[in-house]
């Protein structure tokens, strides 16, 4: 099942990319609003705004590859929703990716062990 392998790899890459960007932005947001007065003054760097915009589009790619993988893995709607929402919660995409990866490895092993 090379198709699952490719979909899993795409999901893995996007889970890490969106996860790292969102994680960095979350820390930046806490530091910025907590200690650098982002709320009251106009000192937000352009890079900060740019990264939020980029995260919006990266998350959209994450949605596409996530749905693609969930469909190939025949996940239920609920499990699929869980995977998709994980991409919006800081650091949760790594957790989701861990379980999905374990599941994919197990599935591929079963498929390869069973020649039928």
């Amino acid at each position: 099942m090379g198709k699952i392998g490719g979909a899993a790899l795409r999901y893995r890459i996007m889970a890490w990319v969106t996860g790292v960007v969102l994680g960095c932005l979350t820390i930046w947001l806490i530091v910025g609003y907590g200690f650098m007065d982002y709320a009251n003054t106009d000192v937000k760097p352009d890079l900060y705004r740019l990264l939020w915009t980029a995260h919006g589009w990266l998350y959209f790619i994450y949605l596409i590859v996530g749905v693609d993988l969930a469909f190939r893995m025949r996940y239920s709607i609920w499990r699929t929703l869980g995977i998709l929402i994980a991409g919006t919660v800081p650091f949760m995409s790594f957790v989701s990716e861990y379980f999905v990866h374990k599941d994919v490895v197990a599935r591929v092993a079963v498929l390869q062990g069973d020649p039928s």
């Binding site: 705004r49 939020w52 919006g56 959209f60 949605l63 749905v67 469909f71 709607i77």
Partner: protein, 259 residues
């Protein structure tokens, strides 16, 4: 698996309680997405219009801020002028405001307009509440400045009378009465001039010269894409369930063509 489900299988699948539930869920999600998309679109419009307002000619404060109403988002930063007389009795000091790294207070004085209503004027900064210039001039003045929204922080603070921790129309209305207009004017010029007076401060909320709100615009687009995506996911999963129902029925023969 590339076989098409029969229309009847598709319909029967869609009408199972499970899939009706999913349809409801998808609909609620899509309504939410469209609502959030509209909100971001409105934000985009507000920012663009406020940017234009900030560059437009000064308008009379009477046109911009109506007593009892709210200040429209797109008018924040609008240059305005107002004619009237200061009422020294209503003056409040906003505590803990620094200027050029020096601690001090902001002086907010009600200006009684000729129609009887009041508008708050942030006359400027003073190093302490007893500095010369704290008492407003007693003659009729024409002030120009920029409209600013309420400061939304420390709403529950209970400072001593005659002082505030933030400029709030709600608090000012309690002090000055229902004829108080929303928002306040950051004083830029005053005719006739009086010295000494408080040092004028720059507006807190700057709406001119801001970047195009590309972040809000993209979010508006993305919410709509999410809504479309939800309908795609619903359709694709339903399609597969219907395919399986067709397969169970064994009625592929009606639709499958040899390929």
């Amino acid at each position: 698996m590339s076989k098409h489900p029969t229309p009847s299988a598709l319909l029967r699948t869609a009408l199972t309680p499970r899939w009706i539930g999913f349809a409801l869920l998808a609909t609620i999600f899509m309504i939410g997405c469209v609502g959030l998309g509209r909100w971001q679109w409105d934000r985009t419009q507000d920012i663009i219009q406020a940017e234009q307002a900030s560059r437009s000619a000064p308008r009379a404060i009477e046109e911009v801020a109506v007593p009892g109403g709210n200040l429209a988002n797109e008018l924040i930063g609008q240059p305005v002028f107002a004619k009237g007389s200061y009422e020294a009795a209503g003056q409040v000091l906003v505590l803990n405001r620094s200027f050029a790294d020096q601690p001090g207070v902001w002086v907010v004085t009600p200006l009684r307009l000729f129609d009887g209503s009041l508008i708050a004027v942030l006359r400027g900064w003073l190093p302490d509440p007893t500095a010369p210039g704290v008492v407003p001039p007693a003659v009729a003045v024409v002030v120009t400045g920029v409209v600013q929204p309420d400061e939304g922080f420390y709403a529950d603070a209970k400072p001593d009378s005659g002082t505030l921790v933030a400029i709030s129309s709600v608090e000012l209305r309690k002090l000055w009465g229902p004829e108080t207009r929303p928002g306040y004017i950051t004083l830029a010029t005053q005719q006739p001039t009086f010295t000494p007076g408080p040092t004028p401060v720059p507006p807190t909320v700057v709406t001119g010269n801001v970047a195009f709100p590309i972040q809000n615009l993209f979010y508006a687009i993305q919410w709509l894409i999410f809504a479309a995506f939800a309908s795609f996911v619903y359709g694709r999963w339903l399609w597969r369930d219907a395919q399986e129902m067709s397969a169970k029925d064994g009625d592929f023969s009606t639709t499958v063509t040899s390929s």
